[in-house]
Amino acid sequence: MTAPFIRLDGVRKVYTVGGKEFTAVQDVSLSVQEGELVSIVGPSGCGKSTILSILAELNTADGGTVEIGNEMSPFTPGRDIGMVFQKALLLKWRTIADNVLLPAEILGLPMKESRERARYLLDMVGLMEFANAWPQQLSGGMQQRASIARALVHDPRLILMDEPFGALDALTRERMNLELLRIWKESRKTILFVTHGIQEAVFLGSQVAVMTSGPARMAAHFDIDLPEPRTLDVKTTEKFGDYTRQIYHLLGLN
């Protein structure tokens, strides 16, 4: 077995606010294989987003080790990161296609190939006919699909998603979960998926890291053994119920 693509070991992050130290995360350890979709679930303020920002090099860890990439798949910071946030964050003055192209422009990739790839990705997320539309003409779910295409346009090895479906209504969210699984299979990307939703975390992830707040730390880790490909029926199985129940307990919800 090849070395894991991501290795986090005892990662710690401390902020100093007004002279007082405040632990954003402590003791986070995680190991992710290439091509895996891993969920990180927990309440607000448990440091989920901090983990993503450390992986994206927007933040540095104050302790522990962070390693991305292995011999098979070397990791280039910047070049190999794609991010999706709760807000789609599309630029209002650019068409959907031009929004998707933004990372390619910033990284200085050849535009002709990037345009082709953007078209391919828009087709994959089901927005082909909206390539020339303005973002504000699209629904929230469609905007979020566009932002997923944008995260993939430079063909990064790692996709970081920070509560990407948190602002969508319940039904759209279910649909986007299925879409994400399809996109993940088709693109074979390694995805780290941060969410508040316990069901969502279990449904999507091949592993789930559970984080708790006060103090912010990693409380538990589950390998999710559910049938593939996952369909919504999985959610009615006993095994699915077991996983979610254990996580609810860990988070002190019952």
Binding site: L58, G78, M83, K87, L89, L91, K92, E105, I106, L160
Partner: protein, 251 residues
């Protein structure tokens, strides 16, 4: 038809205003040197001794010149303040203080410093216009979603790319709101300058005609001033339409 449905009421209000004006003049016995009729006012255009062309050109140059200068300098200052926080901390408060000085009250000083003519009046229009543009543009440049910055930083965008691709285009709606405020101010600035010292321009013309109680010529001068203001405002609206409204960007 579609045009009439969209603008019919607005056009009717304008025509109605002129009709009411005409009606008041016809039905009352207000003497013409107090309130001339719309027609008497319009007839003044044909009076060649008034030299309308010259006055319109002078005032127009002052308005447009001062305004364009304010947009260029205002945007440049906002950009400097965004790029150099120390400059912002040092000079933004000073700018706020200076803005408290009524620019109109400074006009007599400008005359001493710059003499009278087109340039000092342009500068007066400029000083009134520049502040709203600096403020709104600065605001637009710094108001960017933090996660959007995170997103592009994660792929190692440099400051210049963030500025050119995100901040600058994102500030356009703000810039236009400042430009609309300033367009109105530019007209007032130029006219006040002419009131204080000038030898040409529609404001100068107004004062000269006031001495001979030539009310209809004064009214016509007002009409021309209004038209100049509308031309400027219209140009700004047109640019706003091209850069913003057409794309469905809400301001």
């Amino acid at each position: 038809m579609k045009f009439m449905r969209a603008y019919g009421y607005a056009i009717a209000a304008h025509v109605g205003f002129i009709l009411v004006w005409q009606l008041v003049v016809t039905l009352s016995d207000i003497p013409a040197f107090i309130l001339p009729s719309p027609w008497d006012t319009l007839k003044e255009v044909g009076e060649s001794s008034y030299n309308w062309g010259l006055h319109i050109r002078v005032t127009g140059t002052e308005i447009f010149g001062g305004y364009i200068l304010a947009v260029v300098v205002g945007v440049a200052l906002a950009v400097v303040f965004v790029w150099l926080p120390t400059m912002n901390q040092t000079f933004m408060p000073l700018l706020v203080t200076l803005n408290m000085i009524p620019k109109i009250a400074m006009a007599p000083l400008f005359i001493i410093w710059l003499g009278y003519g087109i340039v000092p009046n342009m500068i007066i229009a400029f000083t009134i216009c520049v502040f709203p543009i600096v403020l709104t543009t600065y605001r637009g440049l710094i108001e960017v979603e933090p996660d959007l910055i995170n997103l592009v930083r994660s792929i190692k965008a440099n400051r210049w790319q963030i500025f050119m691709k995100i901040q600058l285009p994102g500030s356009l709606p703000y810039l236009f709101s400042g430009m609309k405020v300033s367009a109105v101010l530019a007209v007032a600035g130029a006219i006040v300058g002419e009131f204080i010292a000038s030898d040409a321009g529609l404001g100068y013309f107004l004062l000269v005609q006031q001495n001979s109680l030539n009310t209809s010529a004064m009214m016509m001068a007002l009409v021309f001033i209004t038209l100049l203001g509308m031309a400027l405002y219209g140009l700004v609206l047109l640019m706003e339409y091209i850069f913003i409204t057409r794309k469905g960007i809400d301001t």
